[in-house]
Amino acid sequence: MPVYALNPGYKGERMDRVENFHGNQLVYVGWDEHRMFCAAKAFPLPPSMPFAAVIENIMPEAFGQHPEFSQINWETAEWLLDGEPFKPQLEASLEAQGVGHKSMVRFKTPELQGYQNAGV
């Protein structure tokens, strides 16, 4: 049952419809096993943004405070898009490669184990 309600056919208001974000869509980005950042971060991004711009502009804003950030090798990073293995196409837009509204983009850096190699 989608809800237990007093009145049959009750529909809740969808608070986070993509239309509410003024032309942007929400995208979450997370750096796996780097707990210096307590959680993945949320960004409102244009669906037409190429993935290269995410790496150049969004990643430094999200994770640039980490002492290992400058050592990230984006060539060897392993990606998950909404839980599935994913190979970003740098020139293609988010929309064109299936990064949709409220998609979760995670990456792993196999050669970087975090501060003190402790997953931090």
């Binding site: 049952m1 989608p2 809800v3 237990y4 309600a5 007093l6 009750y10 529909k11 809740g12 208001e13 969808r14 608070m15 986070d16 419809r17 509410n20 974000f21 003024h22 942007n24 929400l26 979450y28 997370g30 796996d32 096993e33 707990r35 210096m36 950042f37 307590c38 959680a39 993945a40 971060k41 949320a42 960004f43 409102p44 804003e61 999200a62 640039g64 405070q65 002492p67 909404d82 839980g83 949709g100 509204h101 409220k102 998609s103 979760m104 995670r106 975090g114 501060y115 003190q116 402790a118 997953g119 931090v120």
Partner: protein
């Protein structure tokens, strides 16, 4: 003939059960429209046993006496500058968290119990809930009065009610109660009366009240004592509700179990702030969160669920996950607040070396391995003059609304992430427990007012985070928030105490 004085038994009957009446020309179902839609079957309200035998006149008398004593102590506390007796200015931040995060829940409890105290078809249950609703209203008032003294001397207390409705982390306790109050009356009672007031309440009140006692805060200790006898009544009501529902009809058992699973999970997620308060915010520690969980849930709760087994009720789902998480959540939560200290309505800090060693001793299996490195990094950054405040805004769980800070118990280095797609839109969760709750009633939780998303939609002022903090949250930016080091709170404290 002079009127005879009623004996206690008659008085009780007349002032409680006798307040009911039969419906001769109106439809009873229309008088109690909330009673059936949840699927709960009540065959006989007369089987309800009053959990406590108290009439309204004796209730007033009893509570008035308690109030007189309580306010006399508040006056003395205030006249003697009682705030100077707390251990240090860090402690007061636990009170800010309590006033903004917990006291408004007392008000929501008052509203919730007043509602079910009208809607239940059985008069015994109605009277008991009405009395609890009055208790809850008294609690919010006495808490505000207890803390008003601190408001004269410390920052961060001034807009507690406004903040409760708006601030990002306060959406966690707020939405917890909104969820319960927008459920049917029986779910509300299992959620608040049983799961919260009976099973988990000791994990909220004992830490705060013992914390107050250990840290020289007489005002809060006195409030706690004044509420204690009320809490005992609330617990008996919570237990009576469960017994009554389970004895009324066997079809109620799976529904009650589902609610226990849900509200145990939601309750333990909510208690994450208490875990962090105990382990990090109290300068004088009472006990670790881990130990509190073992004493008040694993032992006491374990015995309770053994008793309920005869009704076909089992331990709440995911209790074994929580048993593992007790080693982690306080550290994860304080790290989250520390790194978001620019956006919190209270001060944060790096634990002292002595405190770090205490944490290592309390959490031998997890602290040094997973959490001490965080604080070493924080110290390094601070020494460089770059006290770490994280950039950006975190992803939140759709159900509990907590930033997705919890980790996988089979790999505590990795944040735990779950999602569901409902009618072409994706929703994210911190855990299987929160995902299950959404999947059961997605139509309810699509309405979550997630502060991060609301900021991006432009509904919280802005454009910058600082504008949201100052204009929409009404925080005094640079005064209420940031590290305790260099804060006006710390500065004043040092002047009062003559610390150079």
């Amino acid at each position: 003939m002079a009127a005879k004085k009623l004996n206690i038994k008659d008085k009780y009957r007349l002032l409680t059960r006798d307040l009911d009446w039969d419906f001769s020309y109106e439809d009873r179902k229309q008088a109690f429209p909330y009673e059936e839609f949840e699927g709960i079957k009540i065959t006989d309200w007369n089987k309800w046993e009053d959990p406590f035998r108290l009439t309204m006149d004796s209730y007033w008398k009893y509570q008035a006496e308690k109030e007189k004593k309580l306010y006399a102590i508040f006056d003395a506390f205030s006249q003697n500058n009682g705030h100077l007796n707390v251990v240090d200015s860090r402690y007061v931040n636990a009170l800010k968290l309590f006033l903004t995060g917990v006291s408004p829940l007392e008000y929501q409890a008052y509203q919730g119990f007043a509602h079910v105290g009208r809607q239940f078809g059985g008069v015994g249950a109605r009277v008991a809930c009405q009395m609890q609703s009055l208790d809850e209203l008294r609690h919010v008032q006495t808490q505000i009065h207890a803390m008003s003294h601190y408001n004269k001397f410390f920052d961060g207390f001034q807009e507690f009610s406004h903040m409760h409705d708006r601030v990002w982390y306060l959406s966690v306790p707020r939405s917890f109660f909104c969820d319960a109050r927008s459920a049917g009356p029986f779910e509300f009672m299992v959620a608040i009366g049983f799961s919260f007031e009976y099973v988990l309440t000791n994990l909220l009140f004992v830490p705060f009240m013992s914390g107050a006692a250990h840290n020289g805060d007489m005002a809060t200790v006195t409030f706690g004592f004044s509420a204690q006898s009320d809490e005992a009544r609330h617990m008996t009501l919570g237990l009576e509700v469960i017994k009554f529902l389970l004895e009324q009809h066997e079809d109620n058992v799976p529904i009650v179990q589902k609610w226990i699973d849900k509200w145990f999970w939601r309750g333990t997620r909510l208690l994450t702030i208490v875990a962090m308060m105990m382990d990090y915010m109290l300068p004088n520690k009472v006990m670790s969160w881990k130990e509190a969980w073992e004493v008040y849930f694993e032992e006491a709760g374990g015995a309770l669920f053994k008793d309920l087994a005869r009704y076909g009720i089992r331990m709440p789902k995911y209790a074994e996950t929580i048993e593992k998480e007790k080693e982690h959540i306080s550290h994860q939560a304080w790290w989250t607040f520390y790194t978001h200290g620019h956006a919190a309505g209270f001060h944060t800090w790096i634990p002292s070396d002595k405190e770090l060693d205490w944490l290592s001793a309390q959490y031998p299996d997890t602290f040094d391995k997973y959490y001490r490195p965080l604080w070493e990094l924080a110290k390094e950054q601070e020494a460089k003059g770059e006290r770490f405040y994280t950039s950006g805004l975190p992803q939140l769980c759709q159900t509990c609304q907590i930033p997705m800070l919890f980790t996988e118990m089979d790999n505590p280095n990795q944040n735990s992430m779950r999602d569901s797609v409902f009618e072409d839109e994706r929703y994210h969760f911190c855990s299987d427990g929160c995902k299950d709750i959404f999947d059961e009633e997605p139509e309810k939780y699509v309405q979550s007012w997630l502060p991060v998303h609301q900021i991006f939609q432009g509904n919280c002022g802005g454009p910058g985070v600082e504008d949201v903090l100052s204009d929409y949250y009404k925080m005094n930016v640079g005064v209420d928030n940031m590290d305790i080091k260099g804060s006006p709170d710390e500065k004043r404290w040092n002047e009062w105490k003559g610390i150079a």
